[in-house]
Symmetry: C2
Subunit: 551 residues, 2 copies
């Protein structure tokens, strides 16, 4: 094994390590185009086209029949066939690969992981298209979330793990040692991964949510089994293929990273998670399944993102137009299909203070409806903001909205101007009574938002905190001119693990995610316990055994 | 709040922080006597005498009747009465105290915790006597484990937590902040403890095993409820009293650290552990209870030490006398009542290689029995090595030994020459067939060891690994002259989290514990997941919430 890959990528690793200390936010690669971009983009288009209608080649053991049921929300049936994998073969192969992986030093592992990231980066375009055509995300978002953003989150996990592991003495050798005292007692430490890490992909942000677990596991000496969502296999299949290639080239056993594909009709995530060899589970998606994992996969460490009822609290604002634009933008991006999307807008019964006087609750509702209308009036602009959706998955969510309360904004079905056969569903906004918690105090994952009036701002804060406590929440948007309100919100919401986003304007979305900076999902409420930049994310994935010996 | 305490103890903290990096082992205070030692010792004796037959004063809320059932294994009935605490009062008080504690900065918390340690250090003598007369540990061991060693382990947890927390930007203010970019977005991070940490004390090493959890919890912003073993309350009661005093003097709410005492007939550890306010549980002791906690207190992080079947594998040795002396010393210390005590000695059927030829299995058994006899022949020396025991707790363990196999060494009941009324029970050694795993492959916590012959050294290694995997093990002593055997043992036992102790001599005990150095209980097997010097021990006890705001 050699340190060539480590040396090649060392400068980037050093920058990433520095960023884990400063927490200033860091991105490894500029997004602007370079000369080679056009070539890479053309290659990406061709590669993506070649996947469609074909058999996705993976040289894994235990491959039997072929399966695949992805359909692009943008209209095309992708018709990609994947190997259906026999767990009885793959898990022992992964365990054997981990044995080989144990002999790689920390630097060797880091070099290999950095090289995987570099190879993924070069294939960002095909991965972006794969993300777009499986998840339905708007193209620009898919490119970013499937590509650079996922890669940066991966780099963050890699750097956090490197930092933790080099804290173990002499850990850069597979087993460091040190001789102490006159008697010649030698101490030697070994890092041990826990076993196999299962990473379960989600349907809306497959790479972004899976990469931190994959790279944290590899760095800490674990094998990885990737089980994508049946509707969003391709982005992770490409990822696994790249990882296997790099590991093999570096002299490792490619079964260190394997792909297990299932079908919606016969899901296998539960049965893999319960296998005793699986010691770590990373998952993002449905809150009930996240809770099931924590409840049942008790032999494993579970890092999950579940449901989130993110609130918007509108107490006051210096500029009501900016405030409403920020709310609408945050709610419309990807049609509310992000774990950070706002779910409920809480307004005090007495209205919203502004420098020009009170905006009363009805006027607020009217302004909100107008802004949704304006933002989504142009079909192409709306489609590029919302992305495409499958009717079967999201239609029912919205169609039932009118039964829930006063429909303030109707959901529209838009034929996508660029993709014949693709539908776009715009968000509905439903006005409910705040006491109807059973309606709004759960996650409606998709294009629907609720507007609820509260007794007071204090009431709104306590409702947002209650929703976080019981259902989970990652963030809360707060608009206020009152320093006391801000302190009260910081206290009440901080204590339940909700990140406040205060006085955002038109330019800012609550969905913006900044690697190496935001403590996304700190684990205080059920929405998630997978903060990549908290050392708890990596520290529990390995153990250290210390030996003492005399000659 | 002031930084005076932090500045006062800063030099020590810096040394401790350095030691967490070098892992060279570190002790804060020299053990040798100083001029003031004699005074402190006299004060300690007086303080301890004053506790006996008295009511232990603690100014906690919710105090009702008085309870207490400690009896010294050294003969005296201590007759100390403790406040019986009403959980319905104590837990809300602890939660309120935590709210106040949240406003202390990291440095302020560190200063207060370091001052608590300093105050505990000044009372090491009374704490040592309290430890001796509740646990039955030999006096020198009780002084060390209840005093300096426990304090050093506490300092280690404190330094690890400090290190983790200062990794959060600007975390030395209660909420650090930083303004980014042209738009004036300010990011601010808050550290949040999880809630209340329950620390459950054990009967044999109450302070040593409880301090890391107590100090890790305090540093990370949690309140602590200490529930001692009903037979070993005093060492932790003194500790809680000191902590409350220092917290109050520093302007905090003393209910940050509370004591809850129960009786053997009506234990309350389970019901406290299941309270939703309790988010962290630290426990050392019975393996079944450790497993129960992990299984049932799922809303809480559990750091536990459970049972351990530590093996001794004798393949070969350059000096059979040294080898046997090391085994016997390790087995006799504190009469096998440490989690590190060896439990089973595995010898290959073909005997033990030495430079002078093979020592066959019968000769090995004979030498072992002789060494036990020699070590324990003098009553006073034996008593000082073994410590005192209560008949009801340990007698039955040994009395049934003869039914289990060939009794190689009989247990002796020794009247303690220094303490009339105190009994000392010397270890029995029972020779069993290796296939009788149901006998030896479980933890016999006390003065009994097993000798089992194996097919081969490879067989012995695999049996030791199997015992670790199923029952837990912290260490294995290995004696060998064969580098291949050592590598095989490192592989097989390292993978199941067992720390190897290779070729120890008469001077070395497997029970030696070195703060800031040994990764005790790494969490790979059931014996424990509470390695103080692994950042996972502290990192999960707090969360970080990041807010973003505009003016």
């Amino acid at each position: 094994m050699s340190l060539e890959l480590f040396e090649r990528h060392r400068a980037l690793l050093d920058l990433a390590l520095a960023a884990t200390v400063t927490r200033s936010g860091f991105t490894a690669r500029a997004e602007e185009s370079t000369d080679s971009e056009a070539v890479l983009e053309a290659e990406g288009r061709e590669a993506f086209a070649n996947y469609c209608g074909s058999y996705f080649y993976l040289d894994q053991p235990g491959v039997g029949e072929r399966i695949g049921e992805e359909r692009s929300p943008y209209g095309s049936s992708l018709e990609i066939q994947y190997p259906k994998t026999n767990l009885g073969t793959v898990l022992p192969a992964a365990a054997r690969a981990r044995e080989a992986w144990r002999r790689f030093t920390l630097r060797e592992r880091a070099g290999i992981c950095l090289e995987i990231l570099q190879q993924l980066h070069l294939r960002s375009h095909e991965i972006g298209l794969a993300t777009m055509h499986t998840t339905g995300a708007p193209q620009a978002l898919a490119m970013r979330q499937g590509g650079i953003l996922a890669q940066d989150r991966a780099l963050e996990a890699l750097a956090m793990a490197y930092q933790e592991l080099r804290g173990v003495p002499s850990s850069d050798d597979a087993a460091g040692s040190r001789t102490q005292g006159e008697l010649g007692l030698t101490r030697r430490w070994r890092q041990e991964g826990l076993g196999i890490g299962l990473v379960i992909g989600c349907s809306t942000q497959p790479n972004l949510r899976a990469y931190p677990g994959i790279f944290a596991n590899l760095m800490t000496g674990n094998a990885v089994v990737v089980k994508p969502h049946p509707q969003a296999v391709l982005p992770l299949a490409i990822t696994v293929g790249v990882a296997r290639h790099v590991v093999r080239e570096a002299g490792g056993d490619p079964n260190l990273v394997t792909l297990v594909v299932d079908e919606a009709q016969s899901p296998i995530a539960q049965s893999i998670a319960l296998r005793p060899e699986v010691r770590i589970v990373d998952y993002a998606g449905n809150g009930d399944f996240a809770a099931w994992l924590i409840e049942n996969a008790r032999h494993a460490r579970c890092h999950v993102f579940g449901g989130a009822v993110n609130a918007v609290i509108v107490d006051g604002t210096a500029n009501i137009a900016e405030t409403i634009a920020s709310i609408v933008r945050s709610a419309c991006e990807y049609a509310g299909r992000m774990c950070t999307s706002p779910r409920v807008i809480l307004v005090p019964r007495d209205g919203v203070s502004t420098p020009n006087g009170i905006v009363d609750r009805d006027r607020f509702a009217e302004l909100l409806a107008l802004e949704f209308g304006r933002t989504l009036s142009d079909d192409l602009a709306a489609a590029r903001l919302l992305g495409a959706m499958r009717l079967d998955e999201y239609g029912t969510l919205v169609q039932g909205a009118s039964a829930l309360g006063e429909v303030l904004v109707e959901s529209r079905v838009i034929d996508h101007p660029e993709f014949p056969g693709a539908q776009v569903y715009s968000p509905a906004v439903v006005r409910v009574k705040p006491e109807e918690r059973s309606i709004w105090m759960r996650e409606w994952f998709g294009p629907i938002s609720f507007l609820a009036e509260c007794e007071s701002t204090a009431d709104a804060i306590s409702m947002a905190a209650a929703a976080a406590r019981s259902q989970g929440a990652l963030n809360a948007m707060l608009f206020t001119l009152d320093a006391g309100v801000r302190v009260a919100a910081e206290e009440a919401l901080g204590a339940v693990g909700v990140a406040l986003c205060v006085n955002f304007g038109r330019q800012q979305s609550v969905n913006d995610e900044l690697p190496f900076c935001d403590y996304h999902g700190p684990g205080i409420n059920p929405a998630g316990n997978a903060t990549v930049c908290h050392s708890a994310f990596v520290a529990g994935r390995f153990r250290v055994v210390g030996d003492r010996f005399f000659r």
